[in-house]
């Protein structure tokens, strides 16, 4: 009950910000439309819809990081959290209350991307539903990055770190726009050591119905998600004690 109330409040704060809606839902859709238009005018396969859409759904999740980080950082800055720390809400209530409301928003964002892709010619298969289900663990990974950043940085710093740095990392090191093998070398190795490319490959495998191709990417995603959740919880509790 207590956690639910807090989670509902967080959902309202996120959904009532028009910038969140514009970036969270609008931007990935614009990317799909724009890159599909480019694809239609070039003779080589660059942004083929079956290949592009899973990547954009993952890239869109970097906005979930921004949402969660901004919300927490703003709450810390406004003393609202200080007030709530003096109520019977427990640390578990806080962490779940910040995490759970963003998961359905992430799934909705993913669904909107696939609906756009279907309009642009993506084959309708049951794998689309599986891809939306598999985006859930990926979204937890991105949300925990937000929880971590929001606990460590101010809302202005969060704008720079999550809004600029993380979205760029998620864009360039994920293999969404180009094949990482084309760059090769250290760039490719670094990209494969980070979770972003594994998130994209996981989603692509699911959408293609290649469920054996889910491995080993799912382990990377779950492993990174677990580590980031632990770090985020630790950082959150630390700043809670520092109040």
């Amino acid at each position: 009950m207590r956690m639910r109330t807090f989670a509902i409040r967080n959902t309202k704060e996120i959904l009532r910000d028009p910038l969140n809606l514009a970036f969270g839902l609008g931007f990935p859709v614009v990317l799909i439309l724009l890159l599909s238009a480019i694809q239609a005018n070039v003779p080589v396969e660059m942004f083929e819809i079956q290949h592009l859409t899973p990547g954009v759904t993952v890239f869109g999740l970097s906005f979930m990081t921004l949402f969660s980080a901004t919300l927490i950082a703003k709450d810390r800055g406004s003393s609202l959290l200080q007030r709530l720390y003096t109520t019977p809400l427990t640390p578990v209530d806080f962490i779940l209350g910040y995490t759970l409301p963003i998961v359905p928003i992430a799934a909705a964002q993913c669904a909107v991307c696939y609906i756009t892709a279907i309009i642009l010619g993506l084959n309708v298969t049951v794998n689309i539903l599986y891809a939306i289900v598999f985006v859930i663990p990926v979204s937890v990974l991105y949300i925990s990055m937000g929880l971590l950043c929001g606990s460590l940085f101010t809302d202005k710093q969060v704008g720079g770190i999550c809004g600029a740095l993380l979205t760029n990392l998620s864009a360039w090191l994920s293999g969404i726009w180009f094949d990482l093998e084309l760059v090769g070398g250290a760039f490719e190795k670094i990209a494969h050591a980070l979770p972003f490319v594994h998130c994209v490959e996981l989603e692509r495998a699911v959408l293609n119905g290649d469920f054996s191709g889910v491995f080993p990417h799912i382990f990377w995603v779950l492993g990174y998600a677990a580590v980031l959740i632990v770090l985020a919880v630790f950082a959150f509790l630390r700043q809670m004690k520092k109040q």
Binding site: M1, R2, R4, T5, F6, I8, R9, K12, E13, R16, D17, S78, S79, L80, Q82, R83, L84, Y85, T86, T87, P88, L89, K241, K242, Q243
Partner: protein
């Protein structure tokens, strides 16, 4: 009966002693003001009493519950209105009250009753559907106090409740705080002499973490041999260096 019993409460940050061996009692229904210049330790003392930070040593008992050993029980009987306005800006006034009702575990029926009662008591009806973030400073502070009252606290901490507000809004909030006196034990921190003098049963003056004096405004003036409370405060604070 003592609502708050503070025993040698101390908070140290490396070389800095923010609160130094604070010992004090506050009676049930009493309004005690903590007064002091910047860095006196008022906010740190309130943060320890409201279980936001742990003391380095010492303890305090709120309605008999230890702030060190029984924080969950303490949180059930206190409420805090922090120094900066602590509201959810994207929610309406009504939703902010609903949030506090929910985190305190009130049933839906009780929530409606409580919101109606506080709306009337704090005259929030005209702004109940407005977004809290769009309200003026005075309304936000009023909402902040209303949010603190949702849980029917037995002990209420008001950290500089009228800071930065104009004289009319401040007078309204004083009226509100006066209406709570006797029903709720209140600890209020302030920079304003007249606020402490006007509202308090007793005033505790702190400097550099230490309690210099705790008495009624009249007794403090008498002890300092001054004809105004402000002069008495300056005399006491300057005397101890």
């Amino acid at each position: 009966m003592d609502a708050i019993k503070i025993l040698s409460l101390t908070k140290k940050y490396k070389d800095l002693t923010a609160v130094d061996n604070l010992t004090l009692t506050v009676k049930q229904g009493e309004l005690l003001s903590l007064l002091g210049v910047n860095g006196a330790g008022k906010t740190t003392a309130i943060k320890m009493l409201s279980c936001l930070i742990s003391p380095t040593s010492g303890d305090a008992f709120l309605n008999g519950k230890s702030i060190c050993k029984d924080t969950a029980a303490v949180k059930e009987i206190i409420a805090v209105s922090p120094q900066e306005t602590a509201i959810a800006p994207g929610l309406t006034v009504g939703e902010n009250l609903q949030l506090m009702c929910g985190v305190h575990g009130l049933t839906k029926e009780k929530q409606n009753e409580k919101i109606a009662e506080l709306t009337q008591r704090l005259e929030l009806k005209s702004v109940i559907n407005k977004k809290a973030g769009k309200l003026s400073g005075g309304w936000q502070r009023r909402l902040s106090i209303a949010m603190a009252l949702v849980s029917e606290p037995r002990i209420l901490f008001l950290d500089e409740p009228t800071l930065g507000l104009d004289v009319l809004v401040r007078s309204d909030l004083w009226e509100l705080i006066r209406s709570l006196k006797g029903k709720v034990t209140i600890i209020l921190t302030t920079h304003y002499m007249e606020e402490a003098e006007e509202l308090s049963d007793r005033i505790a003056i702190m400097k550099e973490g230490r309690l210099l004096v705790c008495d009624t405004a009249i007794n403090i003036m008498e002890k300092a041999g001054k004809d105004s409370f402000e002069k008495a405060f300056i005399h006491i604070v300057k005397e101890v260096s």
